[in-house]
């Protein structure tokens, strides 16, 4: 035969590269011979180019079809195999579905919360500015600081906002709307434009010019039907007419609203006074945004900000303490920073669960592969190549994994619903869902999973010597290797399950301890309602104070009401910040005392209604009016830190700022966890609403949360409160109606969700690992039936057989616990910031979870061990 010319070799190479092995086995030689003859004839006739063109077109057209035809065959075969073994198929699909479903759900959350772009243009150059003090507290900017920053900083443009409320009246039921007050450049700094109408103008920041309003998209749709005719309409907000100038795009949120239970419905221009004295710098109420100018980096901007804050310290001596600085935090870190680590930990946990599921199913497939040995041998003997069989096994794995992905999508949906219910204030969680990208992730994960658990059985097939199986011989020389692989998979499952169990155990303990933390109040049967009194109709302080007094008197006289009071900042919901104060004998200066305490404004009856224990002295009473001597109450922490050992009752304190009165301390109450259950109580000063004078001259405390304790169901008092308010003023809406139990539950939402999810994943991992251990050992007992029969025939007792089987099962389990402990020691450090009063290496948790896992593994080994002792020696020896 002639040696092939290069063109024929090229053709043969293309056939080998493009066509599947099975096709080539039958037709490669024939195709090469035919092409050789064609090429010889074409060469003589000068048509080689045309021959190559037609040949290449033919190869490219037909090769993919051959692959698809084989894939179709493999899928049909796989489905037939799955139908023939329904129990195996169901177990494999459910096992994989838990891993794929949980991973898909967590991916959806991680994608929505951490990865998806924020709804601001060029969010990477947007930051939030904070003031920091020596005691590590942080606050926004004051009015003068904002003007200084705007005038003197070149690296970035500064905008500011505050959150408030607005009562919408006229044309329907009065409605209290959450409002954002924004500087005129706020939208441009955020990179957002109104979809209808215009933005604010600079002059609208000045007092008296700000009677304009931007509607959020949701309010525009809900209340105005999405009609453009709303432009130019007049809305009555807080009794004042405001002209609608525009509508914001859907999804607009100011940075502190991601995850907030209440998003703004309207945006109003903030009112600033550029002529205000620059030396009155203490009221840090402005949340601040910074947009880096083109070409400027965050590092350079921070350096410029550092220069400015040092200048503040020089220019206003005494106003800033030694530890004062200002910082720029990238907007993404600000919004999702606190939840990044816990989410990534949960995502890592579900990937561990998926690995356990893969190891479990790999073991099942290995066991099934051994059972199908004869079938595989027959197929090989009738012409199927090893490559073809490996491809078949991998296709079967892919079909299983895709079926599991479909089932897993249902589980993913349930996990997302659980997360939405359990932690509604997780930022951007409402954007998580099962969209096309997430479904594509699920499909891709299914493919990877198929490769992970299908590769071992495929390798088993590739290295198999099938000849002995044709004669019924089980090929004993490979048994030890098979058993070793299966034992290693059991060890891996146990190790991974232990890591998850330890993590879950730590989080569950932490959550349990958090729940035990006394909040300092009794939330049982307490209804809370927010009431905001507008300036129109109530321009002075007295009418506001009288309104609340009459409301509370009316409530106390209502049936079913045990007590009523009101507070400016409800515990676990909102604080008012801190305020410097002076002690008697000190002379108030222009720069404050540098001794801050948290502060609250309350009405008489508040402490009693919320069950806050009075420790010394008396509580506020209706006699503590504006024209009576000024009084205050303090908490135990303030009493201990400032008046250590001395009775604070009767002492005098004074808040810093002009016009503040010296107040006599009349009582001490127990500490209340105002910010969070895991935050220690801060020193607190309480002032009666009737005597409160704000640090901002002219500002009146118009918004209080009314607390009402019921004799029965708290929620049933909602109508009572509404009627009482309406009887006083029909134009006053109530809002944020909730029970104190719900407030407490919401404050625990995130730790509850984390411990719930990780606990669920750990429980599933435990079940999978135990079932996997049982399955492998049960199969091994079957494999060793003959050997067990022989041992019994030679005199081994039942106890000896049991011990032998238990050793075989518990060996990998003990190894798994050892490896798992090592893994847990390394990984639980990642949980440190999530734990409350529990150490990451808590020995009790490690010991208890190891014991649980070993006990479960022992139980899983017990049944096969018992079955082994039931083997009849004569039957076993004949069956071999």
């Amino acid at each position: 035969m002639d040696k092939d010319i290069p063109q024929v070799r090229l053709f043969r190479g293309l056939v080998r590269a493009l066509f599947p092995a099975d096709f080539r086995a039958g037709y490669e030689a024939e195709m090469t011979r035919t092409f050789r003859a064609q090429h010889r004839e074409a060469g003589a006739a000068g048509g080689v180019a045309r021959l190559w063109w037609e040949t290449l077109a033919g190869l490219v057209r037909t090769a993919p079809r051959e692959h698809l035809a084989q894939l179709r065959q493999d899928i049909v075969y796989a489905l037939r195999m799955m139908r023939r073994t329904p129990a195996f198929t169901a177990i494999a699909i459910l096992t994989l579905a838990t891993g794929i479903g949980a991973s898909t759900a967590l991916w959806s959350i991680v994608d929505a919360v951490l990865l998806r772009p924020l709804p601001y243009a060029h969010a990477e150059s947007l930051a939030v500015m904070w003031n920091h003090w020596a005691d590590n507290s942080q606050a926004g900017l004051s009015n003068p600081e904002l003007f200084d920053a705007r005038e003197r900083l070149r690296s970035f443009e500064v905008a500011a906002f505050t959150k408030g409320s607005a009562n919408l009246t006229g044309g329907g039921e009065p409605e209290r709307l959450v409002a954002t007050h924004l500087t005129a450049n706020g939208l441009s700094v955020l990179g957002v434009r109104p979809v209808v109408g215009r933005d604010f103008r600079a002059e609208e920041e000045l007092a008296g010019n700000g009677r304009v309003v931007l509607l959020t998209h949701g309010l525009w749709q809900r209340r105005f039907g999405g009609s453009r005719a709303v432009l130019g309409q007049t809305l009555t907000l807080n009794g004042e007419p405001h002209s609608v100038i525009g509508v914001l795009p859907a999804g607009f949120e100011v940075p502190n609203e991601f995850g907030a239970l209440q998003r703004s419905a309207v945006v109003l221009p903030i009112t600033l006074d550029p002529a205000a004295p620059r030396h009155e710098r203490g009221s840090h109420y402005l949340s601040t945004l910074a947009r880096l100018r083109p070409g400027r980096s965050l590092t350079a901007a921070q350096a410029e900000l550092d220069l400015l804050t040092r200048a503040f310290d020089r220019e206003y001596p005494g106003e800033y303490n030694a530890g004062y600085r200002a910082s720029l935090t990238p907007i993404r870190t600000e919004i999702v920073g606190p939840v990044r680590r816990p989410l990534l930990i949960l995502f890592g946990a579900v990937l561990l669960l998926l690995l356990i599921a893969c190891a479990n199913v790999a073991n099942l497939l290995l066991a099934r592969g051994a059972a199908r040995a004869k079938e595989i041998a027959v197929r090989q003997a009738t012409g199927a190549s090893p490559a073809r069989l490996v491809r078949q096994v991998l296709t079967e794995s892919l079909v299983l994994a895709l079926a599991a992905a479909v089932v897993g999508i249902g589980l993913a949906r349930a996990i997302l619903a659980l997360a939405a219910a359990a932690a509604p204030n997780l930022p951007r969680l409402d954007e998580a869902g099962l969209d096309l990208a997430v479904l594509a992730f699920a499909a891709g994960l299914a493919a990877l999973t198929a490769l992970a658990f299908g590769s071992l059985p495929a390798l088993q097939l590739a290295g198999r010597d099938t000849a002995p199986h044709l004669h019924g011989d089980r090929g004993g020389s490979r048994t030890a290797l098979r058993q070793g692989v299966r034992a290693a998979l059991v060890t891996a499952q146990i190790a991974l399950a232990l890591v998850l169990l330890v993590g879950a155990g730590l989080l569950i303990q932490s959550f349990a301890r958090l729940r035990q933390v006394p909040g300092g109040f009794n939330p049982d049967r307490v209804l809370t309602v927010l009431l905001s009194v507008p300036s129109s109709g109530y321009p002075e302080r007295e009418p506001v104070v009288r309104l609340f007094e009459r409301l509370l008197d009316g409530l106390r006289a209502s049936p079913g009401v045990v007590g009523a009071g009101a507070v400016a900042g409800l515990p676990l919901q909102s604080g008012l910040g801190d305020w410097d104060f002076y002690l008697e004998g000190e002379i108030p200066g222009p720069h404050g005392s540098n001794r801050p305490a948290d502060w609250q404004v309350v009405t008489p009856g508040y402490f009693e209604t919320l069950g806050i224990r009075r420790v010394r002295g008396r509580s506020f009473s209706p006699a503590d009016r504006a024209d009576a001597p000024a009084v205050a109450m303090i908490n135990e922490t303030l009493a201990r830190t400032i008046f250590a050992g001395r009775d604070p009752v009767g002492r005098q304190i004074r808040m810093s700022g002009e016009g503040q009165a010296w107040r006599t301390i009349v009582g001490v109450v127990a500490d209340v966890r105002q910010d969070a259950l895991d935050a220690p109580p801060m020193p607190e000063i309480y002032m009666p609403h009737a005597q409160f004078l704000s640090f901002r001259p002219g500002m009146i405390m118009r918004t209080l949360t009314v607390v009402v304790r019921a004799s029965g169901d708290a929620a049933a008092l909602t109508n009572t409160v509404r009627q009482q308010v309406r009887a006083l003023d029909p134009g006053l809406p109530i809002s944020t109606v909730t029970t104190m139990d719900e407030v407490v539950a919401r404050s625990l939402a995130e730790p509850r969700l984390h411990s719930l999810l990780l606990g669920f994943f750990a429980a599933v991992a435990l079940v999978l690992a135990v079932v996997g251990t049982y399955g492998v050992l049960a199969y091994q007992v079957t494999e060793r039936t003959r050997e067990i029969g022989l041992r019994q025939a030679l005199g081994a007792k039942a106890g000896d057989i049991q011990k032998m089987v238990l050793r075989q099962g518990m060996g990998p389990a003990l190894a798994g616990v050892a490896v798992g402990l090592g893994g847990a020691l390394l990984l639980t450090r990642l949980l440190a910031t999530q734990l409350f009063e529990v150490a990451p290496l808590d020995p009790t948790t490690f010991a208890a979870t190891s014991a649980i896992l070993l006990a479960a593994a022992l139980l899983a080994c017990f049944l096969p061990a018992r079955r082994a002792t039931g083997v009849e020696p004569s039957t076993a020896l004949r069956a071999g």
């Binding site: 035919t34 092409f35 040949t55 051959e66 035809a69």
Partner: protein
């Protein structure tokens, strides 16, 4: 046992390469290169089968029982290389005939509509 009657209808219509392959084998066994040459000659070059297209069709028709593989023997008209021959099976013959009848029926309709002239008597 009653043998089920073979139904060629599910295979219709055939693509030109499919029909030409079956037609080429209608008058005797052939190897792949011979099939390619005959189809090219009979259709005056309008249907040209490449090696890839031909053998993909052959594999499909062998799997479906329309063609059977015969022995390997050298073709004295070519080089001395042993080549595999293919034979039209009974089912393949029925499929080819059914396709021819389908096309005949279509030609008849075209003639009735005067799209094609009537055949002249020989």
């Amino acid at each position: 046992m009653v043998k089920r009657r073979f139904d060629p209808e599910p295979y219709l219509p055939l693509t030109p390469p499919m029909f030409q392959l079956l037609l080429a084998l209608a008058d005797g066994d052939k190897h792949g290169y011979a099939i390619i040459k005959e189809v090219e000659r009979r259709t005056a070059g309008k249907v040209r089968l490449s090696a890839g297209t031909l053998y993909a069709l052959i594999r499909r028709f062998v799997n479906e029982g329309l063609i059977v593989e015969c022995d390997e023997r050298p073709d004295p008209a070519l080089d001395d290389e042993r080549r595999r021959y293919y034979r039209l099976a009974d089912n393949g013959r029925e499929v080819a005939a059914a396709e021819a009848r389908r096309m005949e029926e279509a030609v008849g309709h075209a003639r009735a509509k005067l799209l094609l002239p009537k055949p002249r008597p020989a």
